[in-house]
Amino acid sequence: MNNFFEINNVTFAASKKNKVNNVSLKIENEGDVICLLGPSGIGKTTILRTIAGLEKINSGSISLNGKVISSNKIHVEPEDRNISLSFQDNSLFPHYNVIDNIKFGADRNSRKTKKLKLDDVIEFLHLENIKSKYPHEISSGEAQRAALARSLLSMPDLLLLDEPLSNIDQNFKEEIQVKLKQILREYKITTIIVTHDSYEAFYLGNKCGIILNGQLKQFDDPYNVHHFPNSIEVVNFLNKGILIPATVVDEKTLENNDLGIINGDFIKHYPKGANVKLLLQPEDLEHDDKSSLKLEVVDKKFRGTNFIYTLKTQSNLLIPVFVHSHHVHQHEVEEKFGVKKPIHIDHIVCFD
């Protein structure tokens, strides 16, 4: 079966030094959304620009709808690809007002039978009050929403969004994320989103790619990326847990000097007695005031729905733990904090 979109062994080069090497990924179905995550300056935007045809490639190939659009011999011009890229910076035409800018998108695939309605997009992106304004009269967040509207209305075969919601106010952001996901699914708009916000990526993407040190390190379902990161680099990048030393006791058990026995299902088999680094995420530990395992609170962050306590072990490991913010009994810095024993983790992720 042909994949709807495929990158086959392509090196994306923003400059001679800054490259993402030998990338291969595929989008099997039309309408799927993938998100690319990575630190700033790693080359995510270059990947989008190359897919859009704004940059050329020297090796490998990129194909869309079963047709090669980029290779070392073929380069379909950007205007002939039916790919739309919404830039991170303001790329609205400065001499047209917002509505005229948006209409440029609507004009593109006006013959498509199933297409988005201009008014609907304006409404969902809250652009009603700025329709007749010019780009220099609106904020960067508003410009970003207008550019997103233009790209969506163009109904491309492939939509590329570069940090599409980075400048948008927090109060609109979640609402727009929900509606955007709904629209992309309903109109089967295949999309690649570049973002630095992992929650946004996990919410919007059917799959997520993690780009680190010039390589696509992991390309998987958001759940797997979060719970089963495939390398220490990905763990460090996502910053959603810590690695602690442990020794494999048997097929379902590990032991840490400070935390004691830890039970669960290993994702990967390790021999008995092997010394490993165990991934411990904040949701893995459970608070229990009656537990004999007491750790010192060194920091407490209020995150609305929960607190994140940072606990210090005897050997000075700092471990994050989530506690629901409605929990009646709270602990302050330097107090002792009980952790339920024995610790049980559903999926045990370890690294050599």
């Binding site: 859009a52 950007p78 205007e79 690809r81 609205l92 035409f93």
Partner: protein
């Protein structure tokens, strides 16, 4: 690299090459032999040409710095009666070409001239011609050129002063500086790049002046080039002299270019910018500031306008003898043809540079537009040399020579105008393009717009103000242009500039007044139309 070569690349390359032809011709003159006149020239007049050119240059630089910086300082830092009026009124001096200013000086101070008439009517015929100072010769040329082009220093310095932050001045106050010390230690040094840029332009214009120096009979390198070609029919020598002049001009061009880069840095309001608070002048100080600005405005603009108007009214016959329709239609033909060609080719070149992003092409464009520094007379001579070379070596026909088509024709004239004013048009369009982010083009491509459609639907509407400005500036330049028109025009083809020059060269200044005043009035109208852009205060 090969992938980048497309129709846009080739067109841009060709355009830049055409513009670069005069520069190439002048350099190639070193491989050709000259007539015996060159030896005679070396032993006789060459040193005089050089000394006169340098004397004129130094005099004009001193005068224009005093007038330009002084006026810019007054209107930028002080509020006084008429300050806002003088801010733009002082740029009207651009409407008076140096050669017409020279005619006005001649008409006023000559024996039995206007000064003589006025003084005698006031004093009862007791003033003799010998008591009236003669502002002619070298001093006359210095005055004429200075008052007609001090605007370059004024405009650039004023822009720099305009964007100077109040914080700088406050800093001086905090350090206990007096007003004088603040001016010399803070205000002037930070405007230095703009002043140098303005003075470099003044220097280039002075060295390329032909009308004034020929009117006052001063032998400079420019008149030497003209003589080598017209009197001694030695194109190679004319080109070689041009080379020396060009080297000097390129030096100034480089200084100007470097200064401009820095000037931009200094004048852009960055963060921490605080708008200046102008000081209100009262009493005698206000009168003094008004008087200085009015005097400069009067001498630079009102004086030639009044003198030329006076003679036009005094000798109306010459006005009615003018074939106005013919002169206007000739000017219009030149403006329409030149503007169309310049705008179209500047667009192709800019767009070509933009989409190919070729460094080679950009370097060639930069090299070719340095032709703006070349005096019109050099361009015309170099162009004629090039056509002669083609006629004698490449396009050899029995019954036809291409010279008749390219020299002494409107076509040839428009081509040399094209080379002369290409930098103005190209830079005007380029500055508009610089405001369009590349991502705008890319967005258009990604919305399915082809290169041509992007150009038509995105660039053209955006750049319409730039195009308008460029057309007006070209119009002003073409109306005032003298040496190229004089040399390249078809037989019996006249413009206001050539008519004024022809009469003036026959000592018929009263007849030159009518075409001169029409020229000044048309130019003034267009300068006023673009004053906001010239003063760099457009939104």
């Amino acid at each position: 690299m090969i992938a980048r070569i497309n129709i846009w690349y080739l067109s841009s390359f060709l355009i830049s090459l055409i513009v670069a032809i005069p520069i190439i011709m002048i350099f190639s003159s070193f491989f050709e032999t000259t007539s015996e006149y060159s030896l005679v020239l070396k032993e006789t007049f060459l040193s005089e040409y050089v000394i006169n050119s340098l004397t004129l240059l130094i005099g004009v630089l001193i005068l224009t710095s005093i007038i330009g910086i002084g006026c810019a300082y007054l209107v930028s830092f002080y509020n006084f009666f008429g300050a806002n009026f003088f801010k733009w009124a002082l740029i009207l001096s651009f409407a008076v070409p140096a050669y017409i200013y020279s005619y006005s000086l001649g008409a006023f101070f000559d024996n039995y001239g206007t000064a003589y008439s006025i003084l005698n009517s006031l004093s009862g015929n007791i003033i003799s011609n010998s008591t009236i100072p003669k502002l002619d010769g070298m001093f006359g040329a210095m005055l004429a050129i200075s008052f007609s082009i001090f605007g370059y220093v004024y405009v650039l310095t004023r822009t720099s002063f305009h964007y100077q932050s109040q914080n700088l001045i406050d800093l001086g106050k905090n350090l206990g500086f007096s007003k004088k010390k603040t001016f010399f230690k803070i205000i002037l040094p930070s405007a230095r790049p703009s002043i140098v840029a303005g003075l470099s332009l003044v220097a280039m214009e002075t060295l390329s002046d032909f009308g004034s120096v020929s009117f006052f009979g001063i032998s400079t390198l420019t008149t030497g080039i003209y003589n080598a070609w017209v009197t001694f029919d030695d194109l190679t020598l004319a080109n070689r002299l041009s080379f020396y002049l060009l080297m000097f001009i390129f030096l100034l061009f480089t200084i100007e270019n470097l200064s401009r880069k820095k000037a931009q840095y200094h004048t852009l309001p960055k963060s921490g910018f605080k708008t200046k608070t102008k000081i209100n002048l009262k009493g005698y100080k206000s009168i003094l500031a008004f008087s200085i600005c009015f005097l400069v405005f009067f001498i630079s603009f009102l004086f030639p306008v009044i003198q030329m108007s006076y003679w036009t009214f005094l000798f109306p016959k010459h006005f009615f003898d003018l074939n106005l329709i013919n002169l206007l239609s000739n000017t219009l033909i030149l403006v329409i043809l030149s503007c169309s060609l310049l705008i179209a080719l500047s667009f192709i070149s800019n767009y070509g540079n933009r989409i190919t992003k070729s460094k080679l092409l950009q370097s060639l464009t930069t090299f070719s537009i340095s032709g703006y520094a070349m005096p019109g007379i050099i361009l015309a001579v170099a162009y004629i040399s090039f056509i002669s070379f083609l006629d004698e070596n490449i396009f050899i026909f029995e019954n036809y020579n291409i010279k008749s088509f390219f020299i002494g024709s409107i076509f040839g004239l428009v081509i040399v105008y094209f080379v002369r004013f290409y930098s103005l048009a190209n830079n005007g369009i380029k500055s508009g393009y610089l405001k369009i982010n590349y991502s705008i083009d890319e967005s258009a491509y990604l919305l399915g717009y082809s290169k041509i459609k992007t150009f038509k639907n995105i660039h053209l509407p955006y750049l319409k103000n730039s195009i308008f400005l460029v057309i007006i500036l070209l119009l002003i330049e073409i109306i005032k242009e003298l040496p190229i028109t004089l040399i390249m025009r078809p037989f019996n083809f006249d413009t206001f500039a050539t008519t004024a020059y022809t009469y003036a060269s026959q000592d018929l200044l009263e007849a030159a007044a009518a075409p001169a005043i029409i020229l000044i009035l048309i130019s003034s109208a267009f300068i006023l139309l673009t004053s906001k852009y010239i003063l760099n205060e457009q939104s």
